[in-house]
Amino acid sequence: MGFNLITLSDQDEDQLYFSEMAKKENWSFKACLTLGDLESADIDETHSIILLDADHPKAQLPDCPYPMSKVRQYLNPLFPATKVFPITSQPINRNRALIDEGNTFKYPFYHNIIRNYDESSKQILPKIIGCTQIKLPNGLHSFFNEKDIVEEMKLTESTQREKTVLTVEKKLQAIGMDSRLSARVAQASDELLMNAIFDAPRDKSGNPSRMLMDRRAQFKFGAAETVDLQIGIHDNYIGVCVSDHYGSINGDTLRKYLEQSYREDDYKVNRYKGQSAGLGLYGIIHAGLSIVLISDHKKQTHAMIFCPRTDSYRSFRRSFQFSACFF
């Protein structure tokens, strides 16, 4: 099934990038320069994807050609927020126009694209867009091709976390990723595993059941509590997916952790209950990794990170970055 990509942006590079993507994928494309253009465009909630420039210097002012508040007023009643991809050149959690319009788009971090249009982004972004057409993507396989390697590891007790993280790091080093980037992805994997083991579990009443536990605790998981880790390797990027069987993360949780900026506010060690530091997702985004969260309420969460296979850490810092959420 095809898509109709619609850019609402006066930036040439946005129009060029997405028109080329549409051509390659055999999708249709329309460039809108103003909200008026968008209003007169043929939009349908099944096939249309709106790629919205969130960096316009007047984004929060009424004389902007596409003021955020008016775009919201127009789109909210007729179009699902899950099919709007704001594009920014700033780190995802620093764009005030997006954060301040949080109530507008409900969750400013549903999907975001950082304007680093490299080769590897051309491989993965169509897959992210493709996932908006299915109810919930099926783990890492939705983001890789059949010929790509996707390995799976199952954790049945908490003590396996450390070894699993080291395995991830060694696998990435074995395919030629530099040691810093391998360590960074391993670190992010550790955060996702800790979330799955300690933060995700709920008791029968829906209350967190392990959030207060010491992160050093050694215990076996119940039969329905296993944590799965997948690592996928594409020619241009890698992905790690950690899955739990609770489906307890939601947009509000995500927003709470991502919206905070410890660059401007002190980190307080007593801010979060229990042993959690509340820095895992924040650190992943700050490091420049891409993140995809898929949550099937009360059933399953897939938390994924993606990273381009670059020839240096410096190149990684200017490669694709995106976030996407499917709740």
Partner: protein, 155 residues
């Protein structure tokens, strides 16, 4: 796992730390409870997770109220990343120096080069290449100066 070497020098205790900092790291146990000025040399820290960051801030924040002066030297790239991400990561300690990551274009050797914080401004965000000790080729700074040195611009 964290390893710590302790030395006394010029009236200061110098702790050289390396390895990983995570939920198993008990900094109070590893470093003790310094009662005099101390220095932490940290070029060998390769990973720090979120619970490790929390433990780090909890531990080092105890010295300011006790008027114990401390400083950091040769902070590794992974700690510089935290320094840039969290404004109170240094917990009142002085960052005297950090290390800069380099990558050799020819043989892909990864290097680290120390730099004093006071000298970073003099670079004016132009970081010169260095000679790779392995192949004698050019090794380039493997970061963007305006981002890597961002912590220096904080008031």
């Amino acid at each position: 796992m964290l390893t710590v070497q302790k030395q006394e020098a010029a009236g200061k205790t110098v702790y050289t730390i390396s390895g990983t900092i995570d939920e198993k790291t008990d900094l109070a146990k590893e470093l003790g409870t310094p009662t005099q000025p101390f220095v932490v040399v940290a070029k060998g820290i390769t990973r720090i997770n979120s619970v490790g960051v929390k433990n780090w801030i909890r531990f080092f924040s105890t010295f300011g109220p006790k008027q114990i002066v401390f400083s950091f030297e040769q902070l590794s790239p992974t700690l510089v990343e935290q320094l840039n991400a969290i404004q109170n990561f240094n917990c009142g300690g002085t960052v005297n120096s950090i290390v800069m990551p380099y990558l050799c274009a020819g043989c892909k050797t990864e290097l680290i080069v120390p730099i004093k914080t006071a000298d970073i401004v003099k670079l004016n965000n132009k970081v010169p290449d260095v000679k790779c000790p392995k192949c004698s080729g050019n090794a380039a700074f493997d970061e963007f100066p305006e981002e890597y040195f961002e912590f220096c611009s904080r008031g």
